[in-house]
């Protein structure tokens, strides 16, 4: 195994992110090849976390662009700070500077409101980690714009000229697949699919994030969540839900899972009324033991 990959795996684990080879390899390649990393997977499997941990591990700044419907270039890139410019004009009225000088001072970086993408491009020092979160929620027009930025990391601001990144940021994009991303964007990126973790991996995550939970309970909690993911539910619980539930059980000082406890706390990991009924029926038929036993 490549030493660098092992190191990344170690560093991520030190940041309390339980990882596997697939994730570590992709992260390593994103850094080594300087390509953006597109992370897809079900909600709650720790896609966003990758960028955060990566930034933490490299002690780099994390610049986050949260995508949403209707996000446009101005909000993502830059805007001029008009009120401040106006104030500046007022103050400069009395000064003897020439028109050209006044204009030059008006359109300088001081009056530029840097939005995430420009902030990432003009960042000095250690290359920052640029997290473009839930890119599937932006519209197709924005995706095309993003593609342009990601290919050369430079922007032209008419009043200022072209700004080019001195150091290429490490880019992580996440997508929940609510919409199919364009082929062009996919091809530009390294691709990482994060599946629901295996029982062993999830158990390690629970142990490291919720240390207060007894070994027996941690196993049962993880096994139940694993069984739930094999069922036909409207909304499958992610790892985030496992951790919520584990934390809730610790807070409630529960030391043994029984039907009552599960019924009372299933709001932690089920988020749909229909799913409540499904689990309720399973519990009513006395399937709790089967659900919490470790499947092979």
């Amino acid at each position: 195994m490549n030493e660098d990959i092992r190191r990344i795996q170690d560093v991520m684990e030190r940041e309390a992110y339980i990882t596997d080879r697939q994730i570590a390899t992709s992260v390593f390649l994103a850094i080594a090849l300087g390509k953006p990393l597109l992370v897809e997977g079900h909600p709650g499997v720790g896609k966003t976390e990758i960028a955060k941990v990566l930034a933490g591990a490299q002690s780099a700044d994390l610049i986050r662009l949260q995508c949403y419907e209707g996000l446009d270039a101005a909000t993502a890139l830059y805007e001029w700070n008009y009120p401040r410019q106006l104030l500046h004009i007022k103050l400069e009225e009395q000064s003897g500077a020439s028109l050209a000088q006044k204009e030059a001072s008006l359109f300088s970086e001081a009056f530029l409101l840097k939005r995430p993408l420009l902030a990432a491009i003009t960042h000095k020092g250690t290359p920052p980690v640029l997290l473009i979160d839930e890119v599937d929620r932006s519209d197709e027009e924005f995706e095309a714009f993003l593609l342009e930025i990601l290919s050369d990391f430079q922007v032209t601001i008419p009043e200022l000229g072209t700004l080019k990144a001195e150091t290429r940021p490490v880019v992580v994009l996440t997508s929940n697949r609510t919409r199919e991303l364009s082929e062009a964007l996919r091809r530009r990126c390294l691709y990482l699919w994060i599946d629901y973790p295996s029982f062993e991996k999830e158990l390690r995550i629970v142990r490291s994030k919720v240390p207060g939970l007894s070994e027996q309970l941690a196993r049962e909690v993880t096994a139940l969540l694993q069984s739930l993911r094999r069922m036909r539910l409207a909304k499958l619980p992610g790892v985030a839900e496992t951790l919520d539930w584990a934390a809730a059980l610790v807070a409630l000082h529960v030391d043994k899972l029984d039907e009552t406890v599960v019924r009372e706390t299933m709001g932690c990991f089920l988020k749909d009324d229909a799913d409540f009924k499904v689990l309720d029926r399973e519990l009513g038929e006395g399937h709790l033991a089967a659900l919490t036993s470790v499947a092979i």
Binding site: N2, S26, L38, E40, K90, T178, R186, R229
Partner: protein, 395 residues
Amino acid sequence: MTAPDETNDSQTVRNDAAPGHDIVSAVVRFCRDLRQRGMRVTPAESVDAARTLGHVDLGDREEVRLSLRAVLVSRREDFDLFDEVFASAWRAHEPAGAPIDRGMRTTIRRPPAPLAGAAPPVSLQGWMKAGTSVDENDPLQLRRASDRESLGERDFSAYSASDAAEFRRLARQIARRLALRKSRRWRVTRRGERLDLRRTVQASRRTGGDIVQLVRASRTIRRTRLVALCDVSGSMELYSRFLLQFLHALQNTFARIETFAFATRLSRITSQLRGVEYRDALRGLGREVRDWSGGTRIGASLREFVETHGDLVDRRTIVLIMSDGWDVGEPEVLSAVMRELSRRAGRVIWLNPLMGAPDFSPDTRGMRAALPHVDLMAPGHSLEALRSLARHLAL
């Protein structure tokens, strides 16, 4: 090794990283194998693949697999295909007696695909009309539901009743497209996208030329309405139940849609579909729609629509007609009413489930009469067809 793109690939690579020549040609061959199996691999990606191998431990097969996959595959659906090609490519390269890779086997895990083969065959139990099912005794149909065809391409007639989640997903996508079309007009808003210079200067005149207030403007959102008319006559039997399920999903995600069902008469079913489970909705429809699965009088039904609900249709409305065009009425009636509809509506789309058949031609009398007044005729027999319809649902 004389193909131009292959030599190109290897030259670029050699300047960059340091993999040996034989590795580069192995990668190029591997990419060609992938292409042959139908995966899209661009030359830029093969270059990246070769660069990648300059960075990883070539003795570690799992590492090579994972890194090549990250570079060459861009969607989860292609993972299995990639792993398969990788396995055979590397088997060919391995010296005899090399250990069988265990990682390989264990990682080809099928992702949880709730809709894949395991889905039960067409269950018609819950359907409104028991006993009229066309495909219950048709073994061919049943086999189709369980073979490896992708969900999108499967004909609706092979669907299980529990594929509702996929319909919901699609409906959400379409609803979003319809709800978020931005027009080119700008309107003053408090926190607009951009500064409205003209209005700002205008406002400054009130304060003696000093700019006190900045006026901002945003693009207005174009509101599109959808009117769906679904044929529920006997000839549409197989499809209408699924199209209705799709409309049910759409009705519950998108506010500006009106839904009608027709066979020989028209029924407005918007309220029956809204806010209830699909099964309950169907029960309500059974009471409401009298001539369910009877014959079709498309022209007369549409005429009734224009006369009683014509106000629903304006230039911002997309009219979606779902029918196979088997009309027992007079073609002149249909032709006239279609002309009327296309004059009023922003767009008229005709979804014809029969269009999915390879030998389809629109030569039913009804179809011939309607076609000149339709902006778009599209297939409506599968989820994939509905998905591509989404692209056209915009004004």
